[in-house]
Amino acid sequence: MKKDTIKISDIVDALNLKIECGEKLLNREIKGGYASDLLSDVMANTKEGDIWVTLQGHPNIVAVAKLKEIAGIILVNNRRPEQETLKKAEAEEVPILTSTLPSFELIGKLYKMGISGMR
């Protein structure tokens, strides 16, 4: 049975995420997920199309997301991206979303929606 594709807009609506940037990119398909706050680990282990859950808000997250063709980034726990991060993310077309939930809760909900880390 073919799963329905999940788009960024689907998780924004379902999980009440705030769109910090990339409003026009919400049609992007989410193929999987990865959670880590170590950028070196993200660089080594994410796959193209992953949604990335992290608490880091500094500009390097955009470069890593772009490099790894990540679908989008979710910052947890009320964390906000730095101004420079947002500027870079707009330029590089990386959507950044924020959630009031801690990582554990947010990832649980994403998983329930059918997004998996293993694929």
Partner: protein, 247 residues
């Protein structure tokens, strides 16, 4: 005779992908003199390939260049290594290169990594991905810096990103850091109020300059007989009259 020497021990060059293109040896040294600095540390991310050029550029100037590097540990903590001699930091660089992932830098995303000479002419580009973490742990790194005769200083401990307290939550008891660096964003008293545990360590401040105009922000003054690592080490441990002078 003991002298008061002003130091900015943490300055990046255009070799760091995030360093401004104008951060070239001659301009850095000139700016440092304008800011009345006596000692500067050249500390690029995971590389030291512009250290000797900066030393060469300073040959007719009354300023001491320390050979440094800002290493990213496996925990993604930034540690500054400072040495007297270029060959010492190049020994560390060899090990750092062996512990970086075999991935090339992406200039468009992270920035160019420019190797220059003392005349500020481009000599080449470092192709490694210098912005990422090495697989060297904090403990291994500090031990290796000491083994090579250098000082290990935890960078910008008040910054959540890549600062030791932000990354680990605390400073491990068994880590033999020579000093902690406070960034220009915060005063010494603010830092002590926010992170009481840091009073066990010698504190310095440094600019972490990535742009010329930041050089010399929050310098540290030392009472030393000469601008050497050995003398600075004595000042950090308050020996033989050597001291870190409070700002």
């Amino acid at each position: 005779m003991l002298r008061c020497l002003r130091a900015d021990l943490h300055i990046h060059t255009c070799l760091s992908p995030c360093g401004d293109l104008t951060m070239s040896p001659y301009r850095i040294v000139t700016r440092a003199r304008e800011m009345k600095l006596d000692i500067i540390g050249i500390c690029d991310h995971n590389s030291a390939e512009n250290v000797q050029a900066t030393k060469n550029a300073s040959s007719d100037k009354n300023i001491k260049i320390l050979a440094g590097m800002e290493v990213t540990t496996a925990e993604e903590v930034h540690i500054i290594a400072l040495f007297d001699e270029t060959r010492e930091v190049l020994d560390l660089q060899k090990q750092v290169y062996e512990h970086l992932p075999p991935v090339e830098n992406n200039e468009a995303l992270f920035g160019p990594q420019i190797i220059v000479n003392e005349l500020d002419e481009v000599e080449g580009y470092n192709k490694r991905l210098l912005i990422t973490a090495t697989s060297i742990t904090l403990k291994e790194l500090v031990a290796e810096i000491h083994n090579l005769g250098g000082l290990a200083v935890a960078s910008h401990i008040d910054r959540e990103t890549y600062g030791i307290i932000g990354q680990l939550g605390f400073i491990p008891d068994d880590l033999e850091l020579d000093a902690l660096e406070i960034s220009p964003r915060i005063s010494r008293s603010e830092a002590l109020a926010r992170f009481p545990e840091i009073n066990k360590f010698p504190l310095i401040s440094a600019s972490d300059a990535h742009h010329l105009e930041d050089i010399g922000k929050a310098p540290t003054s030392f009472l030393l007989e000469a601008p050497t690592i050995h003398e600075i080490e004595k000042a950090l441990t308050n020996r033989d009259g050597r001291k870190v002078l409070l700002q």
